[in-house]
């Protein structure tokens, strides 16, 4: 279980980017975080694996606090938390399978990781995961040759091989066409159930959030204005969230 308590962050003095963010998520749950640009969604997500050092609060993964972890402990937490990026953040020059295997680095000794010495089981698992995301044929292709949707699926496979408890997705479909967007969202939803993991995705598309997520968290100016089941998201709340009528987007 992931519990976030009273998370605070300001980049500049007296201009809080996050105020008192509190929520918890059970395994097997797909959570969408929605809200206008600059609301603080990326800041929340990156605090969860401490890529951003927040200013206060607690982040508990199965009871252990990430925020007070030392370097080694943090590395231990990070490998249980996969991350999927808007721009995929793959090493484009390397092959698909090498990029997937990067998800194992957190488990390896420094030397073995530096020189990319992976075990047979790790390679086997990478192939199994590539099959799962429908890219087994592409294992030896360079990532630069893939389409956006395919790259994102490599990114997802890279996070899965970490055996994560949590996957964080920052605008995972913002660079994709509608069809690939749905493929990726469906994949994330299925994997969440299959592996019983927590998936948290920042999304701009409210329609897709309602369709695929179990829970929705609404953020506005660094504050949580909504944290309910996806079905409970009403026009009323969306209005306060975005300060304007966004219902057209739902159709």
């Amino acid at each position: 279980m992931l519990e976030v308590k009273h998370l605070e962050k300001s980049y500049q003095k007296d201009k809080p980017a996050l105020t008192d963010i509190t929520f918890s998520v059970d395994p097997g749950t797909f959570v969408a975080i929605i809200g206008p640009s600059g609301a603080g969604k990326t800041t929340i997500l990156r605090s969860l694996n401490q890529l951003i050092k927040d200013d206060g609060g607690q982040i508990l993964l199965d009871g252990g606090d990430l925020r007070t972890a030392n370097k080694t402990q943090l590395r231990g937490y990070r490998r249980q938390i996969g991350m999927v990026f808007q721009n995929y953040n793959l090493v484009e020059r390397l092959t698909v399978i090498e990029n997937v295997l990067h998800g194992r680095l957190g488990y390896k000794s420094t030397l073995a990781g530096m020189f990319g010495r992976y075990t047979e089981e790790e390679k086997q698992e990478a192939m199994t995961l590539l099959e799962k995301v429908g890219l087994e044929e592409f294992a030896l292709r360079r990532c630069s040759e893939l389409s956006g949707g395919q790259k994102q699926r490599v990114g997802i496979a890279r996070s899965l091989i970490q055996h994560p408890k949590v996957i964080l997705c920052d605008e995972p479909i913002a660079s994709l066409d509608p069809a690939s967007s749905r493929t990726v969202m469906q994949l994330l939803k299925d994997l969440t159930t299959e592996f019983n993991i927590i998936c948290i995705a920042n999304l701009h598309q409210i329609g897709l959030a309602k369709d695929y997520a179990d829970k929705i968290i609404g953020i506005r100016q660094g504050k949580m204005v909504f944290n309910e089941d996806a079905d409970a998201l009403s026009e009323e709340i969306l209005k306060t969230l975005y300060d304007q009528n966004v219902t057209e987007e739902l159709d």
Binding site: N49, L51, R75, G76, Y77, R78, R79, I81, G82, M83, F85, N87, N89, L90, V91, E92, R93, L94, H102, G103, L105, G106, Y107, K108, T110, G113, M114, F115, G116, G155, R158, S159, Q162
Partner: protein, 263 residues
């Protein structure tokens, strides 16, 4: 009120002003230096025809070819060796100094300072300074090229790392990978093409510069050229220049081919 019309008119005047200013600076400086641009330009064809007549290699100059090429190959090797060593040093220092992979901001500032120091001392000055300690030898030339290349390459490599590697770095950091794993698995593979492209450019450049340095350090092809020139064997000097041009062009073609394959 700023209307589009008077905005455009203002812009027009600014452009005219800039042209007048540049013209004025040219006239002023040629007056101060007593430099007559026009007669200079008129003299160019004459200079070239003098070059053509005196520096034209003759059947006789073919004798010089073996010694010219021997020295030329030596000079090319020197340029390549200094660039390769410079690249190794530069990549280490650039990793320590770049905003995304580097240490504290103090370290970053120091690295930037060092790079700019080595870069901003002209090559000829480096050669002169090093001549005191290392006398006229290949090593002096090697070191002069090395120091200047290090300065350029550190700066170039830092910018490449910052531009091309920060996103993948973040992704690997998020998986729990350690610093050296991130450097070897994400940063280096990601920046390799740009890195090689810069190294090739630096080798081309250093072959040209090595010639000049050779004149000062009394080694390599520069030295050969200097001797022929000073002993009025202009045809042999011409042959030397021709050989250098050929090698430089060949290197450029070769490195463009390599770039095409790796990029």
């Amino acid at each position: 009120m700023q209307t589009p019309v008077n905005y455009l008119a203002r812009k027009h005047w600014k452009q005219t002003g800039a042209i007048v200013l540049i013209g004025g600076i040219y006239l002023l400086s040629s007056w101060i230096l007593k430099f007559d641009g026009l007669s200079g330009i008129i003299a160019i064809p004459k200079a070239f025809s003098w070059l053509g007549v005196n520096f034209k290699p003759t059947a006789n100059s073919v004798h010089f070819l073996p010694s010219i090429w021997q020295k030329l190959i030596g000079t090319v090797m020197l340029a390549i060796a200094s660039t390769v060593v410079a690249s190794l040093i530069a990549i280490l220092v650039a990793i320590m100094g770049s905003k995304v992979t580097g240490g504290s901001s103090l370290v970053q500032t120091i690295v930037r300072g060092i790079a700019s120091f080595f870069r901003n001392i002209p090559l000829v000055a480096w050669a002169m300074i090093l001549l005191f300690s290392f006398k006229q030898s290949d090593f002096t030339g090697f070191l002069a090229l090395l120091l200047m290349s290090v300065g350029y390459l550190i700066r170039a490599f830092m910018e490449i790392i910052e531009d091309e590697a920060s996103e993948t770095m973040l992704a690997l950091k998020a998986t729990g990978a350690s610093y050296f794993q991130v450097i070897f698995q994400a940063v280096l593979p990601q920046i390799m093409p740009s890195l090689i492209s810069w190294i090739l450019y630096m080798i081309e450049n250093n072959v040209r510069d090595a010639t000049l340095v050779g004149i000062l350090t009394g080694t390599g092809i520069g030295f050969v050229f200097d001797i022929y020139y000073k002993s009025f064997r202009f045809d042999a000097a011409g042959m030397t220049v021709l050989s250098i041009i050929l090698v430089v062009i060949a290197l450029e073609v070769l490195s463009n081919q390599i770039r095409k394959v790796i990029l």
